[in-house]
């Protein structure tokens, strides 16, 4: 009999347990070979009468714990193996004993979403008939760029016409669903390519002007020098990765990019910088970013920027100047109790150069963050958005700096409903990130499944630079899934616009919403219904 050591880790201490049916197993080995976390292995066990048997065993180890990705189950020809969430897990506690735990994905604690307590409750029926979602034409576009107040327009009346007599800030009218910033580096080149392919298809075949943000870390040279650049929003974050190359390439760009996005913060880990572990900094990533093989930290803030005013002056102006004042420059911040103050500062900027305020809520995803940040920092997006919109309304400045919001959009599968409700609360558009990789096949969720994006061992080939894993992702199929989802999004959005009688986006039309939660209704200034 063996002695008991209560410190030993057993599989019952882990978050996921393997359910294995030896009678069905043919020992083909597919599961063991496919498990990127080496969480399972063959073991030979002794049987009575000096017999032995080969079986599959889960590793009772934190370093090789099962993450519930289900790849083994997917591959097993005999339905002999599958992961099961373990309600008795001590894993959170145990991992914290070896330094702060890190992971990717979304917060696993804040599962309540305000949008789920809202309903589109003002239905046009009599005096303002509903539209027909199939028959009427809908004008579904959102601005990216600084919009001037009407009294500042450089217009001159000559006879019976108006003429533009001066320059106005660049504004792009794009689809209100934006593919958010996930870098090459965080994503595999395959995943990034699948998303970029979907964007090109949506624009050129479906005529839906979806734009994609590059994420921090630059872009492949082939893309920067192609006319597909017009679909891309180049991101500059605190590490400025990839920008050396972008700036040098400006003279060779065949067209302007759709926009520039200055990333100040991210909803999933507000106040925290970016992180690309060394394991993911493969040769091509070093090349694109212009860095050696090392763990890449983006600082928590842009060095040298001490205030929003300064951010406006320095970064906005220099980026505007770099692209000849032809490209809108927007800013992305994590939602926070201070968002209204930031937005007010931007609205009052005398240069009229902030072309969008991107607010990222607590339910946003990330490739890598400390678990503690992911689970305990951040701000819900709905009230932040509403407060910003109302602050603008109070000053008569609504719509001048477009509000784009993200963080948990489409978490329940229906991004169109989330987008519609947030638009009614004052957003011009929404951005999605995690949802895109879920469409590509990411199995991570808010219940602790997988979320290993920071390890470089992504079992679906999405968040890794390991070529063998990347090969698991079929680029064309991935792109197709995204395209199909956006087409569904588009028709679902119409299905929501039609009953409220609108063919243009009802930005700020909070009267179309009701809430079944009195506190939420009060906070958002909408009707309570029960």
């Amino acid at each position: 009999m063996e002695a008991i050591n209560t410190q030993d880790i057993a599989t019952n201490d882990l978050a996921w347990k393997i359910e294995y049916i030896p009678e069905r197993c043919t020992l083909c080995g597919s599961c063991v070979a496919a498990c990127t976390f080496a969480a399972i292995a063959f073991v030979r066990v002794d049987l009575p009468h000096k017999k032995t048997k080969l079986l599959i065993r889960q590793e009772p180890s934190l370093a090789h714990c099962c993450v519930g990705c289900g790849v083994c189950e997917k591959l097993c020809p005999s339905q002999a193996i599958r992961p099961i969430a373990n309600p008795h897990s001590r894993q959170h506690l145990l991992t914290s004993c070896s330094g702060p735990a890190r992971r990717g994905g979304r917060s696993n604690l804040q599962r309540q979403r305000t949008v789920d307590a809202l309903l589109v409750g003002r239905i046009s029926q009599m005096t303002d008939p509903s539209l027909d979602a199939e028959r009427h034409t809908f004008d579904i576009k959102a601005p990216l760029g600084r919009i001037l107040s009407p009294d500042k327009l450089p217009l001159q009346r000559i006879g019976d016409t108006l003429t533009i007599t001066g320059k106005t800030p660049p504004v792009r009218w794009i689809y209100p669903l934006l593919f958010s910033d996930m870098s090459i580096g965080a994503l595999s080149t395959h995943a990034w390519e699948a998303i970029a392919l979907a964007v090109a298809y949506l624009n050129e075949v479906c005529h839906i002007p979806v734009r994609m943000s590059s994420g921090e870390g630059g872009m492949p040279m082939k893309l920067i020098t192609s006319d597909k650049l017009k679909y891309m929003i180049l991101q500059i974050a605190s590490g400025h990765f990839g920008w050396d190359r972008i700036i040098r390439t400006i003279p060779h760009m065949p067209c302007d990019p759709a926009g520039i996005l200055i990333k100040i913060g991210q909803g999933a880990k507000p106040g925290d910088g970016g992180l690309l572990p060394e394991s993911k900094v493969e040769h091509h990533i070093q090349h694109i970013r212009g860095v050696p093989k090392t763990t890449l930290h983006s600082p928590p803030n842009h060095q040298g920027l001490y205030s929003i005013e300064e951010a406006v002056q320095k970064m906005h102006l220099s980026l505007h100047a770099a692209f000849g004042f032809r490209v809108p420059v927007a800013i992305k911040c994590a939602a926070s109790s201070t968002s209204v103050a930031v937005y007010n500062n931007l609205l009052r900027d005398p240069y009229n150069i902030c072309g969008g305020f991107f607010l990222d809520g607590v339910q946003g995803g990330t490739g890598a963050a400390n678990t503690v940040s992911l689970d305990h920092t951040g701000h819900p997006i709905a009230s932040t958005l509403r407060d910003c919109y109302r602050a603008a309304v109070a000053q008569g400045l609504q719509g001048q700096i477009p509000l784009w919001v993200g963080g948990g959009i489409g978490m329940t599968g229906q991004a169109a409903a989330d987008a519609f409700k947030l638009i009614c609360l004052g957003a011009n558009g929404v951005f999605i990130g995690k949802l895109l990789i879920q469409l590509l096949g990411c199995v991570g969720n808010e219940y602790g499944r997988c979320n290993q994006c920071s390890t470089g061992q992504c079992p679906t080939g999405i968040c890794t630079q390991d070529y063998r894993l990347m090969m698991r992702l079929d680029i064309d199929k991935g792109a197709e899934a995204i395209v199909n989802y956006v087409l569904t999004f588009d028709s679902e959005l119409r299905k929501l616009m039609a009953p409220v009688g609108n063919s243009s986006l009802p930005v700020g039309r909070a009267d179309a919403l009701i809430s079944t939660d009195a506190a939420i209704a009060k906070q958002l200034g909408i009707q309570y219904a029960c």
Partner: protein
């Protein structure tokens, strides 16, 4: 649903013609009220066309308070029309104790001030009177402007007409332009201010339908101008947009149409003035109406306009004889007023048209 109408004539006409226009459409307008704005007045106000005319309905105390205010601010009363009302309990209307229709001489110092200063004075005075009457629920001020008279009341339009003796042949209210409507805004509370036509600084507007972007319009308009207030009805925002485009921005009339019912983005790209149209669309996105509406507008110079929402979910028809143009929600109204016209020349405006009718009855159909 509301029914709206307007008569523009080269010879002055009486309100009973407007009633004749509206009563056949009764099935559609529920007869909950009567409201009209008359412009280019003859009859009792023929000799004081240049002088601001106050139209209001109030209590006896209200009249007193108004008199004190006007005295204090240097306005001197000129002509007056006191309706000789028919006191009959059987009449289905909710009459106010007093109706005031009078012209005033400008305060002395304003005799030498600019047109703009006078316009501002008239607006500020109307707003002040409105606030004064609202203090103790003493009544309503509808308009205070030269050569413009507004009459509104709650009740059956025919009864209201009888009450004010508008059927009489010797009715002394006559004008070349009448914009009319026969319904209180019964979607919400019955408030006299919610009944269109609405009036602001020479601009009159009447609109049926429901403006689904009311919240957006209203939130945007409040800080734009002190006169953009009240918002008792969702169609008031259309008046303010008209005033904003023409009076505040001094832009040509067609841009009003571009702003309230902008062309779809795709269509704009094919227009010669695409950059301008995009600029207007993005800057004034909050003035888009996006709902089922038809509107009739009257400008300070007497020009009438008509246009519809972008999907034309509200009907309108325009009929014409050599001496008058009649606009109506339903053709039966026009048939009642000008049965002799050539119906082949009736105009059914499309959702992209803006119709203007000048004082010499020239009709222009401008297409967006």
């Amino acid at each position: 649903m509301c029914r709206i109408g307007a008569i523009k004539s080269t010879v002055p006409v009486k309100p009973k013609l407007a009633l004749k226009l509206m009563l056949p459409q009764q099935e559609g307008h529920d007869s909950s009220g009567f409201a009209m704005v008359m412009q280019d007045l003859y009859g009792v106000f023929a000799d004081s066309k240049e002088k601001p005319l106050l139209s209001m309905a109030c209590t006896a105390r209200g009249v007193q308070r108004i008199n004190e205010y006007m005295d204090r601010h240097g306005f001197v009363q000129l002509a007056q029309w006191v309706p000789d009302v028919v006191h009959d309990q059987a009449l289905a209307l909710q009459a106010m104790p007093r109706y005031v229709f009078r012209t005033y001489e400008y305060p002395e110092i304003y005799q030498y001030r600019s047109q703009k200063a006078r316009e501002d004075l008239l607006l500020d005075t109307r707003l002040a009177l409105r606030a004064l009457l609202a203090e103790e629920d003493d009544g309503y001020v509808y308009s205070f402007w030269p050569d413009v008279l507004t009459l509104k009341e709650i009740g059956d339009p025919a009864a209201i007409a009888t009450y004010f003796r508008l059927w009489d042949d010797d009715c002394r209210l006559v004008a070349k332009n009448i914009v009319v409507q026969c319904r209180q805004n019964t979607n919400y509370a019955i408030v006299r201010y919610a009944a269109h036509p609405f009036f602001l600084q020479g601009y009159t507007l009447c609109a049926n339908g429901e403006n689904t972007f009311f919240t957006k319009n209203r939130e945007f308009q409040i800080p734009l101008h002190r006169g953009y207030m009240g918002f008792e009805s969702d169609s008031q925002t259309l008046l303010y947009s008209l005033h904003y485009v023409l009076h505040e921005r001094q832009w040509p009339i067609q841009y009003f149409k571009h702003i309230i019912t902008p062309l779809p983005y795709e269509e704009i790209q094919h227009k010669n003035d695409a950059p301008l149209l995009m600029l207007l669309r993005e800057t004034l996105a909050n003035l888009e109406i996006n709902g089922p509406n038809t509107l009739i507008g009257m400008l300070p110079d007497g020009t009438m306009i008509n246009c519809c929402d972008a999907k034309k979910l509200r009907p309108i028809v325009i009929g014409k004889t050599p001496s008058c143009v009649v606009i109506s929600s339903e053709v039966c109204g026009i048939n009642a007023v000008i049965p002799q016209r050539d119906v082949g020349t009736d105009i059914y405006p499309t959702e992209r048209e803006l119709i203007t009718i000048t004082n010499d009855l020239e009709i222009t159909r401008w297409k967006q």
